[in-house]
C-alpha cells in the first residue's frame, strides 16, 4: 500500500472547465450579473455573488423519456395507511411518479456562485476608457528605471561589488596568482631556517631556494593585481516609459432640499459603478467627494452620502471647489481626472452662465471624462420638462466628445448609461443588438 500526499498538488484543476462554462453561458451570465446589481447595496456591488441563469443555454440534452404520460409504476418506502386497491389523487405537480426534485427536471434555473474577480470580469467585460484617455495613458511624460543586467562602465554608485569580486576571483584563479597562504608558508619556513642559522646548523642552499621562491611569488603578486579594472562591473539601468496609472474621480452631488432619497440613491449608484470601473483600469484611484447647495465643500464619504443640508443651489460653487482641489492636489499632467456630477437640474438661473463657462474654459480641458447625470423621480418621468441646467449644458455636447449627459429616473437605467459612456468603441453592444 502506498500513501501519497496530494494536498500540495495544484487545486483548481477544474478552473479551465469553469472558465469554459462561463464563456459558454456568457450572455446569460452577464445578464444575470447586471440584474443582480440592481438589488445590491453600493457596498456590495463588487462582492462575489450567487447567480441564476436559465437552464436553456447550458442544458445537456439526452434521449430520455418524458417525465409524464404513459403507464408507470413505482415502489415507495414507508407505507402506513394504504391498502391494496386504494386510489390516490395525482399530485398537482403533474408528474404522476412522485417527487422529481433534484433530478433537474423541474428546475428551470441553474444556480452557482461567481467569485469577485469573475463577477467584475463579466460585469465590466466590454467597457473601456474612451480613446482620449488611452493617449494619456501611454504618454511618455513619466518614466521609470528598470534593472537591465551589468555593464563594464558606470558610475561608482552603481558598482556591483559581488559581480566585481566574482570576476576578480576567476581572473586570479585563471592566472594563478599566488595566494597569501602560499606566501605565508614560505615566509614561515624561511623564518625557521633563519632561526636555525643563528644556532649554526645552517641549510644555506635550501634557504637560498626559498628566498628566490619568495621573490618570485612577490613579483607575481605584484604583477597580477587583486582587483583589476577589467574586473569592474556596474549595474545597468534602462529607462522605460511608465504609463500614468493614477486617476482621480470627482463626485459632485447636489444635496439641496430638492434632492430626494431616491435621487441620491441613483447618484450614489452611478458613482459606485464608475468607481468600480476606474479601480480596474488604474493602479491607483482617488475619489474626491464634493457636495454642494449654494456653497460647496469637500467632504468624506460618510457625510457625502448621508448628510442632510438644505438651501439654494449654486452649481458653479461645486465646480469652483473642484478646481481648487485640482490646483492643490491633482496636477492635470499627472492625473487622469474624471468627474461625475449628479443633480436634479435645479440651479439658480443667473448661475447657469457661470457654470457653463467654468466647465467649458477650465474643467473640460483638463478632464478625461465629464459625465453629468440628471436624476429624476421614479414616477411619471414623461411629464418632466427640460431643466435649466440641462438646457445650459446641452450646448456643450457637440464640441466636447468627452462630455456626456444622461437622464436617469430608475435604478435599472444606471448601468446602461454607464455602458453607453464607456463602451468599447467599435464593439457591438449585445444589449443594443
Amino acid at each position: 500500500m502506498y500513501i501519497i500526499d496530494r494536498r500540495l498538488n495544484p487545486a483548481g484543476k477544474s478552473l479551465v472547465n469553469r472558465q469554459r462554462f462561463l464563456r459558454r453561458a456568457k450572455a446569460a451570465v452577464q445578464q444575470a450579473v447586471r440584474d443582480s446589481l440592481k438589488d445590491r447595496s453600493i457596498k456590495d456591488l463588487d462582492r462575489e455573488g450567487q447567480i441564476s441563469i436559465p437552464r436553456g443555454g447550458i442544458s445537456e440534452p439526452t434521449l430520455r423519456r418524458a417525465s409524464h404520460g404513459g403507464d408507470r409504476e413505482r415502489i415507495f418506502p414507508g407505507n402506513r395507511d394504504y391498502l391494496e386497491g386504494d386510489r390516490i389523487a395525482r399530485p398537482s405537480g403533474g408528474s404522476g411518479s412522485g417527487s422529481q426534485a433534484g433530478s433537474g427536471d423541474g428546475e428551470d434555473q441553474f444556480n452557482f456562485v461567481l467569485s469577485r474577480e469573475e463577477f467584475l470580469e463579466l460585469f465590466l467585460d466590454d467597457l473601456e476608457l474612451p480613446d482620449l484617455a488611452k493617449r494619456k495613458l501611454t504618454g511618455e511624460d513619466s518614466s521609470t528605471l528598470r534593472r537591465a543586467g551589468y555593464t563594464t562602465v558606470g558610475s561608482p554608485a552603481n558598482l556591483s561589488v559581488q559581480r566585481t569580486m566574482q570576476k576578480a576571483m576567476s581572473r586570479r584563479l585563471a592566472l594563478r596568482r599566488p595566494s597569501s597562504g602560499e606566501l605565508a608558508r614560505i615566509e614561515e619556513e624561511i623564518a625557521q631556517l633563519e632561526a636555525r642559522d643563528l644556532l649554526g646548523n645552517s641549510d644555506t642552499k635550501r634557504l637560498e631556494e626559498l628566498r628566490k621562491e619568495r621573490e618570485r611569488l612577490l613579483r607575481r603578486r605584484a604583477l597580477i593585481s587583486y582587483i583589476d579594472p577589467v574586473d569592474l562591473r556596474y549595474r545597468r539601468f534602462e529607462t522605460v516609459p511608465k504609463p500614468i496609472s493614477q486617476a482621480v474621480m470627482f463626485c459632485l452631488m447636489d444635496v439641496s432640499g430638492s434632492m430626494t432619497e431616491h435621487m441620491k440613491d441613483l447618484a450614489k449608484r452611478f458613482f459606485a459603478l464608475l468607481h468600480l470601473f476606474l479601480t480596474r483600469c488604474y493602479q491607483h484611484v482617488d475619489v474626491v467627494f464634493i457636495h454642494h447647495t449654494d456653497r460647496a465643500a469637500e467632504v468624506d464619504e460618510q457625510t457625502f452620502f448621508h448628510s442632510t443640508v438644505s438651501g439654494g443651489t449654486l452649481v458653479s460653487s461645486a465646480l469652483e471647489e473642484l478646481l481648487a482641489v485640482v490646483a492643490e492636489r491633482y496636477r492635470p499632467e499627472d492625473w487622469n481626472i474624471y468627474v461625475a456630477q449628479a443633480s436634479d437640474g435645479d440651479n439658480m438661473r443667473h448661475d447657469n452662465l457661470k457654470t457653463v463657462s467654468l466647465l467649458k474654459d477650465e474643467i473640460l480641458p483638463i478632464t478625461q471624462y465629464f459625465a453629468y447625470i440628471e436624476v429624476g423621480p421614479e414616477e411619471q418621468p414623461m411629464t418632466r420638462t427640460e431643466s435649466d441646467l440641462w438646457a445650459a449644458y446641452e450646448g456643450l455636447t457637440a464640441a466636447h466628445r468627452h462630455f456626456a449627459m444622461r437622464k436617469v429616473n430608475h435604478r435599472r437605467e444606471i448601468y446602461p448609461v454607464l455602458r453607453e459612456l464607456f463602451r468599447k468603441r467599435g464593439a457591438l453592444d449585445p444589449l443594443d443588438a
Binding site: M1, Y2, I3, I4, D5, R6, R7, N9, A11, G12, K13, S14, V16, N17, R18, Q19, R20, F21, L22, R23, Q50, I58, S59, E60, P61, T62, L63, R64, R65, A66, S67, G69, G70, D71, R72, E73, R74, I75, F76, P77, G78, N79, R80, Y82, L83, E84, G85, D86, R87, I88, A89, R90, G96, S97, G98, S99, G102, F110, N111, F112
Partner: protein
C-alpha cells in the same frame, strides 16, 4: 464480555501518515483475514476539500479531458458545498489497478478508518470481483487511456479549434447513454493497447497523406443492393449509436471518429457502475460496518470513536419514507446494505418464511461466502429480484403505485403483504434494470444510395414517449454529426403502431 486484544490505534481525531499506515494495517488484517476479501493493490491519496470538488466534477477521474460541462458540474457542486447544503463525500475511489482511494485531509481519524474500510477494501473488492466490471473494464489500463484521451483531445483543439471539438463533444455526450454495448459481444478492451494503436494509426495517416488522392475519379456506380443485405452489411439494427457513427458516419474526419470512440469507450467503462450502484455501495457499506465493528471489538478503536462511526454510518444508510421532505428515491447505500445484512441473517438464523423463500442458502451458515458469490455474479436488477426478502419488504413498508394514463387517479397496486411480496420485488428490480429504464432506441436503416437519411426507431414501452425538447436537441446534434437527415419514429412496442415522428436536418456549420 469482549476480548480486547489491543490498545486503541488512536485517541482523539488527529491523524498523521504513520497512523494512517497503522490504521490501514489493522483494517487490512480484518478485511483479508476475517472477511477474505480479494482486492487490487491499494493506493491512498490524501487531498484537500477543494481538490475533492475538482475530482467530483470530472466523474471522479484524476485526469480527464476538458469540457465546459465539467465546469458546470463544478459550479453547481461548489455552491451546494459552500452553502452547506451538501457535505463532501468523505471518499472517492477509482476502479483502477492499483485501486486509488482519495481521502480528505479534513476527515477525523475515525472517518479515515471508515473510508479505508469502505473504499480501499469494500469498493475495491467489488471492482475486482463483480462480473460486470471484469467483463467491461480494464483496471490496469484506464489511467493510461484517460491520459491518452486527454492529450489527444487537447491536440485536436490545437489543430481544429476548440469550438469544433466542443461541438463534437456536446454531440457525443448527448448520445453517451446510447454509446454502450449492452451485451458482451466483443471482448473486453485492452485500453493500453487501444491508445497505442490509435497513435500508430494517426502517424500512418500523416505519413501516407497525399492530396492527389482526392482527385482520383471514382469508379462506376455500385449496383443497387437489396435493403436487407445493406442492413446486414452495416450491422443493423444497431443500438450503439456512437459506435455506428464512428464506423459509418460519412462526413466525419478521422479525428472526429477517434473522439467519438473515446467518449464511447469511457461510457462503456462507466456502464457497470450504473448497473451496480446498489450492490457496489451496499458491498462497501457492509464491509466497512463489519470491519469497524471488529476493530472496536478487538480494541483497536475506542468507544468514542466507534460512536462517531455509528453516527456517520446511520446517516449513510438513512432511508426517508415517501412522504418525508427528504425523500429522493431509494438510497442505494441503505437498500444494498439492508439486503446484504438480511442475506447473512438468512444464512445463519433463518425463519420458516426464509427457508421457504430462500431454500438454497437459508440456514447453511457462511453468510460471507454467500455474499461473496452475490457480489461476484449479480447486478442490481438480478440482485433485488433474487434477494429482496418479505422481511425486508415489511421492514421498509414498501408499496407499489401504478399510474395509468387512462385513469384519473393513481392506484396502490401492492403493499407489504402476502399478495404483494413478489409483485413488489419484481417491480423494484425493474426499476434497477438500466436497459429497461432507458428508452429502447435503435438505428434500423440508412439509405446510403438514396438521400442517406439515418432512420431510427424508438420502441415505446407502456406509452412512455421521449421528452420532446431534449429529443429535438439530441437529434439535431446527431444530424450534424451524420451530415444528412435523421428520422426517429416512435412505435408502440406491442403492435408497432406509429405514435410520433421526429425529423431533423443537419445545420450547416460555420
Amino acid at each position: 464480555m469482549l476480548e480486547r486484544v489491543s490498545l486503541p490505534l488512536f485517541k482523539g481525531s488527529d491523524w498523521d501518515f504513520a497512523l494512517i499506515q497503522r490504521i490501514y494495517d489493522a483494517v487490512e488484517s480484518i478485511a483479508l483475514g476475517d472477511l477474505k476479501l480479494e482486492v487490487y493493490p491499494n493506493q491512498i491519496e490524501i487531498i484537500s476539500a477543494e481538490q475533492m470538488l475538482d475530482a467530483y466534477s470530472s466523474t471522479g477521474m484524476p485526469l480527464f479531458y476538458k469540457h465546459w460541462s465539467f465546469g458546470k458540474q463544478f459550479a453547481a457542486n461548489e455552491m451546494l458545498y459552500r452553502k452547506g447544503l451538501r457535505g463532501l463525500a468523505y471518499e472517492l475511489v477509482i476502479n483502477s489497478a492499483p485501486c486509488i482511494s482519495y481521502i480528505m485531509q479534513e476527515n477525523s481519524a475515525t472517518l479515515q478508518t471508515l473510508v479505508i474500510a469502505h473504499a480501499a477494501f469494500g469498493h475495491n473488492h467489488f471492482f475486482r470481483n463483480n462480473y460486470a466490471f471484469r467483463q467491461w473494464t480494464d483496471a490496469e489500463g484506464i489511467l493510461d487511456y484517460l491520459e491518452f484521451a486527454k492529450s489527444f483531445i487537447a491536440s485536436c483543439e490545437e489543430r481544429y479549434g476548440q469550438q469544433a471539438v466542443e461541438r463534437l463533444l456536446d454531440g457525443a455526450h448527448a448520445l453517451m447513454h446510447q454509446g454502450v454495448h449492452r451485451h458482451p459481444r466483443v471482448r473486453a478492451r485492452d485500453l493500453k493497447a487501444e491508445a497505442a494503436r490509435e497513435v500508430q494509426r494517426q502517424a500512418y495517416r500523416d505519413q501516407i497523406y497525399d492530396d492527389l488522392w482526392r482527385t482520383l475519379p471514382t469508379g462506376p456506380k455500385a449496383p443497387e443492393v437489396k435493403a436487407d443485405e445493406r442492413r446486414k452489411a452495416l450491422n443493423l439494427p444497431q443500438e450503439n449509436i456512437l459506435y455506428f457513427l464512428e464506423k459509418t458516419g460519412p462526413r466525419l474526419e478521422p479525428w472526429q471518429r477517434e473522439i467519438l470512440r473515446i467518449v464511447r469507450l469511457i461510457a462503456q467503462y462507466f456502464y457497470p457502475q450504473r448497473q451496480t450502484k446498489v450492490m457496489n455501495e451496499g458491498c462497501a457499506t457492509w464491509c466497512h460496518y463489519q470491519i469497524m465493528t471488529k476493530l472496536h471489538e478487538r480494541g483497536f478503536i475506542t468507544d468514542g470513536s466507534f460512536l462517531e462511526f455509528l453516527q456517520s454510518h446511520t446517516n449513510v444508510v438513512y432511508q426517508p419514507s415517501y412522504d418525508s421532505p427528504h425523500f429522493n428515491g431509494f438510497n442505494p447505500y441503505a437498500l444494498g446494505f439492508g439486503i446484504m445484512e438480511d442475506i447473512v441473517r438468512i444464512s445463519e438464523t433463518p425463519t420458516d418464511e426464509d427457508r421457504e423463500w430462500f431454500p438454497d442458502f437459508a440456514g447453511k451458515g457462511d453468510g460471507i461466502g454467500v455474499l461473496k458469490d452475490v457480489w461476484a455474479n449479480y447486478r442490481d436488477e438480478s440482485f433485488i429480484a433474487q434477494f429482496l426478502s418479505p422481511r425486508m419488504i415489511r421492514h421498509w413498508r414498501l408499496f407499489r403505485v401504478t399510474d395509468k394514463q387512462s385513469e384519473s387517479k393513481l392506484s396502490v397496486a401492492a403493499i407489504h403483504d402476502e399478495r404483494g411480496y413478489r409483485r413488489i420485488r419484481r417491480a423494484l428490480a425493474r426499476e434497477y434494470d438500466v436497459g429497461r429504464q432507458e428508452p429502447d432506441i435503435q438505428i434500423v436503416d440508412v439509405d446510403l444510395a438514396g438521400d442517406r437519411a439515418l432512420v431510427l426507431e424508438h420502441l415505446v414501452a407502456d406509452g412512455m414517449l421521449l421528452d420532446e425538447n431534449d429529443t429535438k436537441m439530441v437529434l439535431q446534434n446527431l444530424a450534424n454529426l451524420w451530415g444528412y437527415e435523421v428520422r426517429l419514429s416512435e412505435l408502440n412496442a406491442a403492435d408497432r403502431k406509429l405514435l410520433k415522428t421526429h425529423i431533423r436536418q443537419p445545420q450547416l456549420q460555420a
